[in-house]
Amino acid sequence: MHPPFSVIFLTTLIGAGQGLFLALFAAQCYTRLENIPQQTGAFYAYGSILALTLLTGGLIASFFHLGHPERAWRSATQWRTSWLSREVIVLPLFMLMVFIYGTLHFFGINPPIHATVAIPKGGLTIIVGVIGIITCFALFICTGMIYACLKFLQEWHTPLTPINYTLFGIASGFSLAAVYTHVQQSPLLGFMTLWAIIFTVFAFFTRGASLIRNYRLKHKSNLTTAIGVRHNQIQQKAQGAMGGSFNTREFFHGKTAMFFKSVKWIFLVLVFPVPIALLSLGLTNQHMLILFVLAFVLQYLGLIAERWFFFAQAKHPQNLYYQTI
């Protein structure tokens, strides 16, 4: 597939935004349970603004993918069958929850709600946060399922696809949260850093698993099934167009094998070992902001490469019909 940059930015930006919101809410629950001094409302409010900025950035990027963005509202109608439509509904819903969550914190509105036993000493923000978390995970699933539901794109058609989207989002969100807590001089820096490392390690295992899976993948379609002629030696001689077509532009990444391989190694290095090393250093040198900033920025750049590779690696069966001019 041809990697569309609008979608690369959409998925990486909203992933980080979702992860950051998860980190903020995890921090709120953690301080409550562990009796660590409560963070100020402003801590959560500004954090929510940061998350909203990323989500909005992703949303804007997604519009560049559409031929007719002015009709985008129509894409919320087919939620019964289309994962894309579901994502279109859940993304603004999640943004709304982050907005409410941030606003409540900003104005310090947190009336205690004692009725729920499950959440000891929980306030309204906890309830809003939990709804936020649910929409957040729903959004991860929708995003991943857009790709995983296409069964003949065999590289994507696996539960590992939504799992990777989720773990990458959370890992980059916690990396960003580490930078944020550092800037805010919050005692939660160690908490954020540790979890950023843990989620990055998880993502390493699941992405590694999908790389191995795709390496061994046998494609079900071949030229014999594509044109229905039973022969081992079939060669295309003409594709019916000399200057290429939508089919040749949309479904091939168009880069050399060398470039493709390099992107794989770039993302394998930038997403996993580099941030893990920087964050581990940061755990012992908590005063060095640069370590945390570098960890987040490099991991985010790595994720852009990862997403490029994710698209480029998928071989669409239609390519069988477009092998030679």
Partner: protein
């Protein structure tokens, strides 16, 4: 239930591209707007087509065969391109099974083209909406056309009659009979899309001549002409005069 479809006979298709040009001509002049066509006479001609004829070579030289292969939307009975569409612009008609795109609803997200394993959908790069074969839905029901012309443009134009059009759910239709009797098959059956369009395989007409047809074993004399008593061997007389 009706399911209109094309049946394409690879046995007679000569790869002349008449269906491609007549399709483009009909559909680019229709009410749905033009199909883009960039640099048509320059080095890199490109544009939107509903139908393309591709060519494949089967076998290794010198033992090869050329297969011309027209390809358009197959109007799948279980079309994977339809449920993924977020706007409902892509739909399959209940009454005749034609898969269509509503160009006024389509947002041009391209997701349906990812979901078609055959590459039958092409995004019009000028109008920014998804386009594909309509089975000439604006011809086949047009009462202003004479009855015999109410067929897709490609079917009308094919000089070798390689393209048949009809209802594949009616067992007695021309297309169903052709599929049944000439071994019609569907493309990429592994994905369960149940394409309505079928292809008829190439068939070679072969004359089988066996050795016993070349030598007349029923002629014990191994010779034409009058019987001669000079020959050795069993003669009719040997038996009868005995």
């Amino acid at each position: 239930m009706t399911q209109l479809a094309l049946v394409i006979d690879l046995n007679v298709c000569v790869g002349c591209h008449a269906c491609v040009t007549s399709c483009k001509q009909w559909n680019t002049s229709g009410s749905a707007g033009t199909m883009c066509d960039d640099n048509p006479y320059a080095a890199e001609p490109t544009g939107t087509f509903f139908n393309r004829v591709q060519t494949f070579e089967v076998g290794t030289f010198p033992d090869t065969e050329t297969v011309h292969f027209p390809k358009s939307c197959l109007h799948c009975e279980d079309p994977p391109c339809v449920p993924v569409c977020p706007t409902g612009a892509s739909y399959k008609r209940k009454e005749d099974g034609i898969v269509l795109v509503d160009y006024d609803k389509c947002i041009g997200c391209g997701y349906c083209s990812w979901a078609c394993p055959y590459g039958a959908r092409e995004l019009d790069e000028h109008e920014k909406v998804m386009k594909k074969c309509t089975l000439c839905v604006d011809r086949i029901y047009d009462k202003d056309l004479p009855e015999q012309e109410r067929k897709p443009a490609c079917v009308m134009s094919c000089p070798t009659s390689a393209r048949l059009f009809g209802d594949v759910h009616d067992p007695d239709s021309e297309v169903s009979v052709a599929i049944r009797e000439k071994g019609g098959y569907a493309l990429m059956p592994e994905w369960g899309t149940l394409p309505a369009n079928h292809y008829l395989p190439r068939q070679k007409t072969k004359l089988h001549i066996h050795d016993d047809k070349l030598t007349r074993v029923d002629n014990p004399l191994k010779k034409e002409g009058r019987l001669s008593t000079d020959e050795d061997g069993p003669f009719l007389e040997d038996v009868t005069t005995w």
